[in-house]
C-alpha cells in the first residue's frame, strides 16, 4: 500500500490533484511532449536504475504525517510542481518523470528504511527528500552505501559534504554572515542576544554567529539561551532580554516554540519596530502559525522570499498557487525543494546519463537560470552558490526585501575559524 505514489496526501491536496486530473482533457488539446525520443536506454542507464525508453522514476521522501508534516508539506508540493513542469516541457533525456512518494512519518529510522526501499526495490534515479538534519543524517549512510542521489532542500548547519547529496538550501555561514554584517552596519548593532531551540542546527549556527560577532564585527554576545524543542514558555528569557537590552535579538527557535516565542514577545511589550530582531528560522510558512501581527517588523535572513520581484519568481508563485491553492504561502525551503528536480534534470542532460556516478561528477558548474530566487549554480562541494537576502516581516505575513548581497555567496560547509 505504501507503494502508491500519492499516499499520505491530505484531502485538500487530493482534491486538487483530482481537479488537475479533470483538467487533463484540456491539456491534451495542447501540443503534448512526446516521450521516448531520447537516447537509447542502454547508453543513459548502465547501472540498472528504473529507467525505460519512456519513463524515469524518482523518489520523494518527506514526512506527510507526524510532527514535521507542518514543514515538509511545502517541499512535497514544490517538488511535485517541478516534476509536473519538467514533464510538460519534455521530461528528462526524452523520458517522463514518474515519482514514487514515501512517507518518512517524522521518524528518522523510517526515513532510512524508506530510502533503502526506494533505492533497492524501486531503483529510483534520484531522491528528493529529507528536511530535518536528523532525517538527513539517517538517510546519508543509505544513499552512500547504495550509491543513490539525494537532493536536500533545507538550510542547515553545514559540516557535511557527500558525493551522493546535493544541498539546495544554504549552509550556515552562507545564510548567517551576510545578515549579521548587514544589521551591524545598518543598525550599528554591537550587542547581540542569541536564543534558539536546543538541537544541532541552532547550536551550530549560533556558534558560527558568535565567532563572527566577536572576531569580525567586534561586538558582544550578551546572552545565549537554548530551550528544549517544543518549549512554550519564554517569559523568563524575555525578561532577560529586557534586562540586557541587546541591540539585536538573534533567533533560531523552531516549530511550535516559534509561535509561543513571538506571541509572548509581543505580549511582553517588546516592539519589533524599535527592537531589532534577526531570525534565520522564520519563513512565510511559520508566519502562518505565528500571525503577522505578532512578528511584523522582524528581520529574516535567508535566500528566498515569496515577494521577490524577478521574472522567474513571478512565473513560479502563480504556478504554485494554481496547483496548491490561492492561500498557500511559499517559504525559503519550499523554493529550495523546487530547485531539486530541476537541478537533477539539468545535470542529467549535461552528463547525458542517469548514472549516479556521472551525475555526481557533472553536478559542479550546473546552473539553473530560471530559479525563483534568481540564479543558482552548483559548487564543487555540492552546495549552491546563492545570494543572501534580508527581509522585513509585514502584517500580511509576507516579507519586504530590504537587502540582498550583490554577488552570489560561496558555500563553505567547513568554515575555517568558525568551528
Amino acid at each position: 500500500m505504501s507503494d502508491e505514489p500519492n499516499k499520505g496526501l491530505q484531502s485538500p491536496l487530493r482534491r486538487k490533484l483530482l481537479m488537475g486530473a479533470a483538467a487533463l482533457p484540456l491539456i491534451s488539446i495542447l501540443p503534448r511532449p512526446s516521450f521516448g525520443a531520447g537516447p537509447a536506454t542502454a547508453t543513459v542507464n548502465t547501472t540498472g536504475l528504473a529507467v525505460t525508453d519512456t519513463e524515469v522514476t524518482v523518489g520523494i521522501l518527506h514526512s506527510a504525517t507526524g510532527t514535521m508534516a507542518i514543514s515538509e508539506t511545502g517541499s512535497i508540493q514544490a517538488e511535485k510542481l517541478a516534476i509536473e513542469q519538467i514533464n510538460a516541457a519534455g521530461g528528462v533525456l526524452g523520458r517522463k518523470i514518474k515519482f514514487i512518494q514515501e512517507d518518512g512519518a517524522s521518524d528518522w529510522p523510517t526515513f532510512a528504511e524508506k530510502a533503502k526501499k526506494l533505492l533497492v526495490n524501486d531503483k529510483v534515479a534520484a531522491i528528493m527528500g529529507c528536511w530535518t538534519s536528523a532525517s538527513r543524517k539517517a538517510v546519508l549512510p543509505v544513499v552512500e552505501q547504495y550509491n543513490g542521489m539525494l537532493y536536500y532542500p533545507t538550510f542547515y548547519e553545514g559540516l557535511e559534504q557527500s558525493k551522493n547529496v546535493i544541498y539546495t538550501g544554504q549552509e550556515a555561514t552562507q545564510q548567517i554572515l551576510a545578515g549579521l554584517n548587514w544589521i551591524a552596519k545598518e543598525k550599528g548593532a554591537k550587542s547581540f542576544f542569541f536564543i534558539g531551540s536546543d538541537y544541532i542546527w541552532p547550536r551550530t549556527s549560533n556558534k558560527i554567529a558568535r565567532k563572527h560577532v566577536e572576531n569580525v564585527l567586534k561586538g558582544k554576545v550578551v546572552g545565549e539561551e537554548y530551550y528544549a524543542l517544543g518549549s512554550t514558555q519564554f517569559n523568563s528569557v524575555i525578561n532577560k532580554i529586557k534586562l540586557t537590552k541587546p541591540d539585536v535579538i538573534f533567533t533560531d527557535v523552531v516549530g511550535g516554540s516559534n509561535v509561543a516565542f513571538y506571541k509572548q514577545l509581543k505580549a511582553a511589550g517588546v516592539d519589533l519596530s524599535k527592537q531589532a530582531l534577526l531570525t534565520i528560522s522564520v519563513t512565510e510558512d511559520e508566519i502562518d502559525g505565528i500571525g503577522g501581527e505578532n512578528i511584523a517588523g522582524a528581520y529574516a535572513c535567508m535566500k528566498y522570499f515569496q515577494s521577490l520581484d524577478n521574472a522567474n519568481n513571478k512565473a513560479f508563485v502563480p504556478a504554485f498557487k494554481k496547483l496548491w491553492g490561492e492561500k498557500t504561502v511559499i517559504g525559503d525551503v519550499t523554493q529550495a525543494g523546487y530547485l531539486g528536480p530541476w537541478l537533477w534534470k539539468l545535470t542529467c542532460e549535461k552528463a547525458g546519463s542517469f548514472d549516479v556516478d556521472k551525475i555526481a561528477a557533472a553536478s559542479p558548474g550546473v546552473e539553473f537560470k530560471e530559479a525563483p530566487e534568481g540564479y543558482v549554480r552548483i559548487h564543487e562541494n555540492h552546495h549552491l552558490w546563492s545570494k543572501t537576502r534580508v527581509g522585513r516581516a509585514k502584517l500580511d505575513g509576507q516579507f519586504e526585501l530590504i537587502f540582498e548581497t550583490s554577488d552570489l555567496v560561496e558555500p563553505d560547509p567547513f568554515p575555517k575559524g568558525y568551528q
Binding site: Q10, S11, P12, A64, T65, G66, T67, A69, I70, T73, D198, E224, E225, Y226, Y227, A228, G230, S231, T232, Q233, N235, S236, V237, I238, N239, K240, K242, L243, G255, G256, S257, N258, V259, A260, K263, Q264, K266, A267, A268, G269, D285, I287, D288, G289, I290, G291, G292, E293
Partner: protein, 308 residues
Amino acid sequence: MFGDYSIGDLGSIFVMQGFAGLILFSVYVLMALGLAIIFGQMGVINMAHGEFMILGAYVTWMTSNFFQAFLPSLFSGYFFLAMILAFLASGALGMLVEWALIRHLYKRPLDTLLATWGLSLMLQQAYRSIFGAREVGVDLPQWMLGSLKVTDSIEVPINGVFVMGLTVLITVVVAYVLYKSRWGRQVRAVVQNRIMAGAVGINTEKVDRYTFGLGCGIAGIAGSAFTMIGSTGPTSGQLYIVDTFLVVVFGGAASLLGTIASAFSISQTQSTLEFFMSGSMAKVLTLLAVVGILMLRPQGLFALKVRK
C-alpha cells in the same frame, strides 16, 4: 551580571520575573486541572489529554473565523463564547470516548495508557486531515494583545493576566463542584469505593461519564486559552502532556490542593532558575529536584489518607 544596572531597573525586572513565574503557575494549573480530575480522581492515565486541549484550540480558531466572517462587530468578545464552545466540544468528545473506550478498562488501569495513547495518535491524524498539517494562526481581539504598563519600566502581558484570572475562576468552580456539591460527593464516593457507592444507590456509570467529560472539557478551556501564548497545530498537544503529568504526579494524584501546590513549586523553581541560568539547564535541574522528591515521597506532595 547585575553590576551595570540601577536599583530601579533591577526592581522592575524582579517584579516582572515574579509575574512570569505566576503566569507559568497559572498555565500549569490550567493544563493540569483536567488531568487531575481524570487521572487523580478516576485513575485513568489519559495520554490524549493534550489532544483534548487542542480540540479546544481548534474550536477557538473556528469561532474566531466565524466571527470575522459574519459578526465582525462582536469580534472583541468572541473569546468568551469560544471558551464555552471549547468546553462543550471537548467535554462531549470526552463523554463519547468514555462510553466507547474507557469504561471497558476501569478494571485494567494500565491498559488505559495504551488505549488513550492510540486515541491521541488517531486524534492527531484526524486534526491533520481536517484542518491541514500546518499550524493555524488564531486572531485575537485587539484588547487582548500587548501589555499593561504598571509603571514606566514594569510591563505585564495582558494575556498572562487573563490566563491567571481564568485559572483562579476555574479552580474555584472545580473545587466547589468537587467538595461542596452533591454530585462532587458522589464522584468522591465512587473514587474511594466503587462497589459501596453503587450499593448505596449512586449511578456509578453516569458519574464516571460526567467526571471524564468534565476533565476533558476543562482541557478544552485550557487549549482555548493557550491559543494566546502557544501554537495551534495537529501535534501541539504533545507539547503539554509531559509537563501536565509531571504536575499531577508530583502533587499527589488524588488531591486538588496537591496539584496546585505542585504547579506552584515547579513553576517558581523553573522560572527562577531560568532567570539565572540557561533554559535547558533550568529544566534539567527542575526535573532532577522533582525526581529526588518523588524518591523520598513516592505518593507525591499531598496524598489522600485512605485505609488500604
